[in-house]
Amino acid sequence: MRQMKKVFQAAALLLCCVFLTGCAPQKAPEAEPVSLTALQYELENQTIDFSDMWFFDQLEEKTNVHVDFVDVKDADWATRISLMFASRNYKDMILRGSLDTEEYGVSQHLLVPLDEYIETHMPNYYERLSSAPVSSMIPSSDGNSYYIGFLLSQNISTDGHFFINREWLNKLNLSVPTTIDELTEVLRAFRDGDPNGNGLKDEIPYQATFDDNNTGIYNVFSAWGIPMNIDYVFIHDDGSIRFAPEEEGFREGVEWLHLLCREKLLDIACITQGSNLWGAKVNEGGTGYFSYWRLGNTVLKPELTAQFECMLPVAAQDYQARLTRLSDVVEFGASLTVQNKDVPASLRWLDAQLDTETMLVSQNGPMGDMLRLNDDGRYEVVYVPDTNELYGIVPVICGQFFAPADYYESIYVPAPHREEKTAYSDMYEAAGVLEENSYRILTYAMSMTSSESARLLQLHTQLKTVIDRGLVQFMTSGVTDESYAAFEQALAEAGAAEYKALYQAIYNRHLARQEVQAE
């Protein structure tokens, strides 16, 4: 009888549970429909209607937030931003691209400070933000955060790597050079030894472009311990800000470049040719040495890249090689203007894009055909379309993304080409040929006032003209004491000292703030 009673009690309990389960709401009450407007950044070669994109339709169903996008191409972006703020008729949100938050947030107060909202309305973002060291880049000079960051940490530390034609080395019985002199000799051998075997002296030992750290000759100066970069300033190991053309080995570097040009070891067309032409020339098979992002890419033919192997940067005598270091930087993700109709709904919509699966879908395409979830809990790309098909479905890099390195590694199986790049980074890191602090800290991580930013831009333009003209002159005409003195004089007149001092002041302020935050 007692057992019967227990059975009845259990049955009654079960019925109650079933009943209550049936009464419970099937899903949380939907938020009120909200309609917002956004200025959306678009790549120059894209023709996409963000308002009619599958990804954002799905997002609207999920969040009940409708967004009317105004798509703006890269070339028009800065102009449209200026016009929008000048018109006093702001969109609710500004998405991707870039934005001078110092000017529009700190100076003009046209952006919403987001700090007080993030914890409440952006749980995904808040959690990853606190675990990302680069988060310190986000606050502006007044301490407020005016934008949601975009972070795609690839766990790499290098920009361009040096690649040498292994087949040619083998054919000529040469080893990978480690010094500048050895490299010179190898290049001479490439020029004279007919390594491509066509009986013609048509080899171009060193193929390059001009003013960048990927395929450009700026990487040459690493042999003299100068991590020359597009901003010409770097953080020395002693913590001081250095101006690359003023460094001790710079003259020796340009003299070597002249030597390469004079002996036709370097394609002189590098001073004018773009990366497309560079790729076309490399693909012709007459190149023995170059620097590039990685071998697995869409520019170079795979059968050609198979001939090459990555090598460490060479060092000149009495110098230690120093190459530019890449570091994670938080890019601009999104800002809300002060005319935003519904800040919580806007942030809710943005944070929904940072949901792990949604975020990876926004980068790689829908689950199933293009992306899958592995048993280890990581997402893996299944299929990458050849054409721009992906851009019509998901925003790719024009969407919201925030993935610090550790987090990204835990959720994503990188593609083979990414693994290749990581391996090169590890190799260079292990060899100690990278500058200690990335120069990108100066331009991305440090907050500077809008007047400082404007002045630096002005000085950079002047200095770049002097430096590039000087390089062209030295490479084609050689270096003399007089010409180099004139070059130094021109740099001084272009404001090199002020440029360096300004960066030094900004960097000092950055260090001081870091100390305060650490305390």
């Binding site: 004018t272 003209r469 062209v472």
Partner: protein
């Protein structure tokens, strides 16, 4: 049935409905006719025009691109900063050249690629890169142009060359493969002075944007260059050869039809001679016809819809407009059961109009009577207050609420014209501020004008004008004017004043306006002088001096003529004069002609003017002076007081008794009243009542002048029960009210 139809036809609703529907039908028929004849043509023309406009826009935009390209090539060729060099010799100049090209890249941003090639250099430069010509030829593959041909065109540029749109494959362009239109232009002002060649590559999206617009019609659009298709946008499956074979050539826009595959097509051709280009659109005829027919169908439906709506509106309006007519008709007595509503109303209105006009006539006729009554009542002083007067007048359309008024009497008895002046007409209407109303006084043969005005002057002006008009019309005028009054309840006094002035027409110079204010107010001022002049006549009679007598009579009459005495005073005076002369010379005329001849009541009563007195007096005096000299020895006749003298004495003693009446006197003297009156008048030349009044007025004058008794007290003192009767009698007798008389005695200069 026939009756029912007849009644239906005669219904106001049916009449209205038929009228509206007829108008609606005419309007809709006109609309439909217009649309039938013109809309299809209009739609067809508008469709073609929109395509012509589109072609013009495409031509303008496209040639703007070409002009920009050509101008850039010319400017770069003329620029001193862009000078030819050999890359192999001066590679550093290539860097500078790229900087120079950058601004031109902005100007030609619609171009996908832009290259410069100096003559003899075999090296190409773009704003971002440079490359050997051979590298360019190896990297860029044209679908229809061989590398050799391209090399030749680049090395030896002629005039501007345009390579039609064709597939181009190259790693230099986005997507590596796209359709391109390529323009090769000499670097400089002309091919002869060219420094090299400019290559501009326009990708298909430039032309796609050019061809995209809001026109929905399916069409093919072509840009031809030298008869070849430069670029096109095709929706229709028509071979381009069909288009090319049907071009007519020539300048200016032209259109035509093309037949292919059993179907007709519209071909619109807009040639451009500048670049030898043709902008062409091919349209489906059936699509345009369909469009026109669709428009026609739409128009038909519109007209039908309007007709349906109009039909309902017409019925509704007819019903709304007919309803009041039906209601009116139902209120009228039906003359005929078959009579329609309009006829019923017409008949009813006619009857109403006739009855109304009769009523109006009666009303119009009665209005003058009412006004006449009002004037009479007003003059009798029957209104208690001014407001009552004004209100009563207003109800009769008489606007009398003015500060001043007066009464004018216009005599007409002597010259026969009994028509009163119409004071609303010229010249009287010149006096704008008056309101005048006339009545005819049959008893005195005069017209009475009751005149209201804003100023005294206006009233005087009107009276003068009436006098003047009467003089002009009849050569004679008797116009009497009362004093100007302000008190609307004192109208009787005003009437008395006018009547007094009117009565004086015989004794006053009536060639002027008879104004009451100018009448002498007291006999006392006149009588002593009259008696002195009578004594002078008496002396002349005694002396039997004819000349003297005549002179003395003239003196008397002149005196009287220049004295504005009242008629009453005139009678007293001439009675006194005649009586005195008869008494002095009683013997004479007793022995001669009968006294009755001069004291006959009719003779005396006919003496109404100075002239009458003149004749009477001269006749009397002549009879006295011509009579025999009396016998002075004969004893004088013993004069014993007659009964009448006793009556007169009695009245002088008892005039203050208000109970004293003629009948009481007659009873006291045991005489019939009528006999007493006749005897009294025979002897005293005035009636007993006039004598009594004279006594009372004379006494009251003494009291007014000598005492401060009130008018009412004085009236009672001299034998009147009420002051009103006393005032009227006093004014009739003296021409002034008692109060005016008292004031005149207190202040001799006061305006009486």
């Amino acid at each position: 049935m026939k009756t029912y139809l007849r009644r239906l036809r005669s219904s106001a609703f049916i009449r209205y409905a038929l009228s509206y529907l007829t108008i609606l039908t005419i309007v809709l028929a006109c609309m439909f006719g217009y649309m039938f004849f013109y809309v299809e043509q209009e739609v067809r023309g508008r469709t073609l025009n929109s395509h012509v406009n589109r072609l013009s826009r495409i031509a303008y935009q496209h040639e703007d691109y070409l002009t920009t390209i050509l101008n850039s090539a010319v400017q770069m060729g003329l620029s001193p900063d862009i000078q030819p060099f050999l890359f192999e010799e001066s590679p550093q100049k290539a860097y500078d050249l790229l900087q120079q090209l950058a601004p031109y890249a902005v100007t030609n941003s619609f171009c996908d690629q832009m290259f410069l090639c100096f003559s003899g250099d075999d090296h190409l430069y773009s704003p971002t890169s440079s490359m050997p010509l051979e590298m360019f030829l190896s990297l860029v593959t044209y679908e229809h142009v061989s590398p050799d041909a391209l090399r030749e065109m680049i090395r030896h540029p002629g005039a501007m060359t345009i390579l039609p749109s064709q597939k181009v494959e190259s790693t230099l362009i986005d997507g590596n493969r796209t359709n391109m239109v390529t323009v090769l232009a000499p670097l400089g002002a002309s091919a002869h002075s060219s420094k090299g060649t400019m290559i501009f590559m326009l990708s298909e999206h430039v032309y796609r944007d050019l061809f995209s617009d809001a026109i929905d019609d399916v069409n093919n659009t072509y840009i031809l260059h030298n008869g070849n298709v430069l670029a096109s946008s095709t929706d229709l499956d028509v071979p381009v050869d069909v288009i090319l074979s049907n071009l007519s050539g020539g300048d200016g826009y032209h259109s035509g039809t093309v037949s292919w595959n059993g179907e007709n097509w519209y071909l619109l051709d807009l040639p451009s001679t500048t670049w030898n280009l043709n902008y062409i659109t091919l349209l489906q005829s059936s699509a345009i016809n369909q469009s026109a027919h669709s428009s026609m169908m739409g128009v038909t439906l519109l007209v039908a819809g309007l007709g349906a709506v109009g039909f309902l509106v017409a019925l509704m309006l007819a019903r709304r407009n007919a309803r009041p007519i039906q209601e009116i008709a139902s209120m009228l007595p039906s003359k005929d059961g078959m009579m329609d509503e309009f006829s019923s109303i017409q008949t009813g209105i006619r009857e109403l109009s006739e009855s109304n006009s009769a009523l109006i006539t009666r009303l119009e006729r009665s209005l003058p009577m009412q006004r006449h009554d009002f004037v009479v009542q007003f003059m009798k002083g029957r209104y208690q207050a001014r407001e009552d007067v004004v209100a009563a007048a207003a109800s009769l359309g008489m606007a009398i609420d003015r500060p001043y008024y007066a009464i004018i009497l216009h005599g007409v008895q002597t010259r026969g014209d009994s028509q009163p002046f119409d004071l609303r007409k010229s010249p009287f209407d010149a006096i704008s501020g008056i309101a005048a109303f006339g009545v005819e006084l049959m008893a005195i043969k005069a017209h009475l004008y009751l005149v209201f005005a804003d100023t005294r002057e206006e009233i005087l002006q009107l009276a003068e004008m009436i006098h003047q008009q009467s003089m002009e019309r009849h050569g004679h005028a008797v116009v009497a004017l009362s004093d100007v009054q302000t008190d609307f309840t004192a109208a009787p006094s005003a009437y008395l004043e006018a009547a007094t002035a009117f009565d004086n027409r015989f004794v006053m110079d009536d060639s002027h306006l008879l104004s009451y204010s100018s009448i002498s107010t007291s006999i006392e001022d006149i009588l002593p002088q009259a008696r002195r002049l009578t004594d002078a006549i008496d002396q002349a009679l005694s002396l039997r001096d004819h000349a003297r007598l005549s002179s003395r009579i003239d003196d008397l009459l002149n005196f009287l003529r220049h004295t504005n005495m009242s008629a009453f005073a005139f009678r007293l005076i001439y009675n006194d004069v005649i009586d005195k002369l008869l008494r002095r010379h009683a013997v004479t005329y007793a022995s001669g002609r009968s006294v009755q001849a001069y004291y006959d009541i009719f003779t005396l009563s006919s003496c109404q003017s100075i002239d009458d007195l003149d004749q009477l007096l001269r006749r009397l005096c002549t009879s006295i002076i011509d009579a025999p000299v009396p016998d002075t020895s004969a004893p004088a006749v013993e004069e014993t007081p007659s009964v009448i003298s006793q009556v007169a004495d009695y009245m002088r003693v008892h005039f203050a008794d208000p109970e004293l009446s003629i009948s009481a006197i007659a009873e006291a003297f045991e005489m019939p009243t009528a006999r007493l009156s006749l005897a009294f008048k025979d002897e005293m030349h005035m009636s007993p009542l006039e004598y009594l009044t004279l006594l009372r007025v004379e006494r009251s004058k003494e009291l007014l002048a000598a005492t401060e008794m009130s008018i009412k007290e004085i009236a009672a003192e001299v034998g009147y029960y009420d002051a009103s009767s006393f005032i009227r009698r006093f004014k009739q007798m003296t021409g002034a009210t008692p109060l005016q008389y008292r004031r005149s005695k207190e202040d001799p200069h006061a305006d009486s």
